[in-house]
């Protein structure tokens, strides 16, 4: 176990180094002079030279790369061109709403995805199974921002229960905060729910077919006991593997969902930064989300190790 963990830690570090390299390359990809493009987005006084100096854009590639890594290690990801604050500050300010949104969406995904998948697997080939799987595949096929727009009209206007957008901090009003996150969470979770349902069902079916389950059933144990004790725990392994992907998809989805619902989070920060060509923020947001993903995966692998006894003997 210890050796396994050490190995994973080293891989994680290598991946993080590559991740930061890729993030750094974003600004390098801009055709022409990135300083000119960014100066366009700066405050009224144009300062191409100042920006070039600030970002060291006239330096050779390897010097710029070193500056980037050095800054990163000190927790400095540069200054936002348009927001008048450091990139890290800009991101941290916007994390709470995205985290709240992602957590709600994740909970919805887990609850509905797992229940739907398990139910479909247990009632395999019945109408319940087909209905659930049809809904799941539709959920995976529909663009989330489109559903979001439709939900705004349906729920906010026709029925008047929930706000049509905007975000209320929990400090201001807990009930307002909750209500402002309901619709976006659902729109965001739709894709993941469908995905999780499909994966859970397939894993569940696979596990249910296996000998030890049939043995347990043959032994006369009630079905639900079998399901809970044996099948479920084994299903959790591939499901946990997928958690990282779900997290990644949630963040991806947040870019459009936060735009549609006017939520001031990381996703919307990304969406507005690409329009204003605020490259420092774009790079910083990419780096931070990727780093979070890598660390979550590391965590998942550690959990995985607990669930799967085979790893212990490596």
């Amino acid at each position: 176990m210890g050796r396994y963990l050490a190995g994973r830690l080293i891989s994680t570090l290598i991946v993080l180094i590559i991740v930061s390299f890729i993030s750094f390359c974003i600004m390098q990809m801009v055709p022409g002079d990135p300083a000119l493009v960014m100066a366009g987005a700066a405050a009224p006084v144009d300062e191409v030279r100042r920006i070039r100096e600030q970002f060291g854009l006239d330096q050779p590639f390897h010097i710029q790369l070193l500056r980037w890594y050095a800054g990163m290690l000190q927790g400095d990801l540069g200054q936002s061109i348009t927001l008048g604050r450091s990139v890290v500050t800009a991101i941290v300010e916007r994390l709470p709403s995205t985290v709240a949104l992602a957590c709600f969406a994740f909970l919805l995904t887990l609850v509905f995805g797992l229940i739907a998948g398990v139910a479909a697997a247990l009632k395999q080939d019945s109408w319940i199974d087909h209905a659930i799987m049809t809904l799941a595949v539709i959920g995976v096929s529909v663009p989330s921002f489109w559903i979001g727009l439709i939900m705004i009209i349906g729920f906010a206007v026709m029925v008047d229960w929930l706000p049509a957008g905007g975000y209320i901090t929990i400090a201001e009003s807990p009930s307002g905060w909750f209500k402002s996150l309901v619709l976006p969470s659902i729109a965001l979770a739709l894709l993941q729910m469908g995905l999780l349902a499909r994966i859970t069902r397939a894993s569940m079916i696979e596990v249910l077919r296996q000998d030890f389950v049939r043995t347990a059933q043959a032994k006369g144990l009630p079905r639900w006991v079998v399901v809970l004790k044996h099948a479920f725990m084994n299903v959790m392994i591939p499901v946990i593997t997928v958690i990282g992907i779900v997290f990644s998809l949630l963040l991806s989805g947040s870019v459009v969902i936060e735009t549609v619902f006017s939520i001031p989070g990381l996703g919307r920060l990304m969406a507005t930064s690409i329009v204003t060509r605020d490259y420092p923020v774009i790079q910083g947001a990419l780096l931070i989300t990727a780093a979070m993903f890598v660390l979550i995966n590391l965590l998942v692998d550690v959990l995985y190790a607990y669930f799967d006894p085979r790893i212990h003997y490596d």
Binding site: S11, I14, V15, I18, V19, F21, I22, I26, M27, M29, V30, P31, Q124, D125, H130, V137, I138, V140, S141, V142, P143, F145, W146, L149, I150, I153, V157, G194, L195, R198, I199, A202, S203, E206, P238, S248, L249, L251, S252, G253, V255, V256, T259, V260, M270, A271, S273, I274, V275, R277, Y279, I282, Q283, L286, T289, A290, A291, F293, V294, N297
Partner: protein, 297 residues
């Protein structure tokens, strides 16, 4: 004589029932896959025969017709500039399908190449996979959006961005098959007979790794259509006045309540196309490897 007969009979009956069930599933899945194929074909035909199917020029504006509800003059209604929605959706399919095809081809070739090299050459496996892991760490839309922001909004750059996002996933799938195929007897035999690396890869390993690759690429197509729509919606797709399903929805979002047809039909087009691709992918997976776990959407 051991009295095992009753038990065997029960098991036989169980087995037969299972077989009938699984054949039944096969048929149903098959039916779903056929439906999926039909949807995909419809989208493809729409893209190819856009000129014949459209009723108006997709970019022709006519303020007098602005916000017209669906009518004989405009089958699916008109947008805020009086442009025909049906024609725009029809031509929009060219972009969505076109970008999808280009992405799939590029992703397939590059991803398979990486996967083959990685699976076949042990020494290159680790470093290559670390790079793939790093690329996969970025949420897909975020990476695509950052790349198009850097390169500039255009159809070509969207393809580049989406390829960068999906190559790692494809490489992984290919690599997994390669690892399995590589150990098979006939492959070992070919190596024993002195086949060179290129020959090994191209003639023996690749053909047998194609199954999962094809399934994966179908899903990549589906994701590409969805991602392109999101990118266009955010303003990072091909610039106006080119119609894409994503930017038609984006144009129409100010008038959602009063002129819902502007957003409704392109959204349906996306959903149906992606649904078709997903169903087709499911069916292909069943045919090519019914035992394969669902590790991707």
């Amino acid at each position: 004589m051991p009295t095992l007969t009753p038990a065997f009979t029960t098991t036989d009956a169980l087995k037969r029932a299972r077989w009938r069930n699984s054949a039944w599933i096969r048929l149903l899945r098959h039916r779903m896959a056929v439906i999926g194929f039909v949807f995909c074909l419809a989208a493809l035909l729409m893209a190819v025969f856009a000129d014949a199917l459209a009723t108006h020029h997709p970019e022709r504006t006519r303020i007098r017709d602005a916000f017209q509800a669906p009518s004989p003059a405009h089958v699916l209604g008109a947008d805020h500039l009086g442009r025909d929605i049906w024609s725009r959706v029809v031509y929009g399919s060219r972009i969505s399908i076109g970008i999808g095809v280009a992405t799939v081809v590029l992703t397939g070739v590059i991803g398979a190449a990486f996967g083959l090299i990685s699976g076949y050459f042990r020494q290159l496996d680790d470093p290559l996979m670390r790079v793939m892991d790093a690329l996969m760490a970025f949420p897909g839309v975020m990476l695509a959006v950052a790349i198009t922001a850097a390169l500039g909004p255009s159809a070509v750059n969207v393809v580049i961005a989406l390829t960068a996002v999906y190559v790692p996933r494809t490489a992984r799938i290919t690599r997994a098959s390669v690892l399995v195929v590589r150990e098979m007897d006939y492959v070992q035999a070919a190596r024993a007979l002195g086949a060179g690396h290129t020959r090994m890869i191209l003639r023996h390993i690749l053909p047998n790794s194609l199954g999962p690759l094809v399934v994966q690429l179908t899903f990549v197509f589906a994701y590409a259509v969805l991602s392109e729509a999101a990118l266009s919606f955010l303003g990072m797709g091909p610039p106006p006045p080119t119609p894409t399903w994503g930017n038609i929805i984006s144009d129409g979002r100010d008038y959602l309540r009063e002129a819902p047809w502007i957003c409704l039909y392109p959204g349906l087009a996306i959903s149906v196309t992606v649904l078709g691709l997903n169903l087709l992918g499911d069916g292909l997976r069943d045919v090519l490897d019914p035992r394969m776990k669902v590790t991707q959407g």
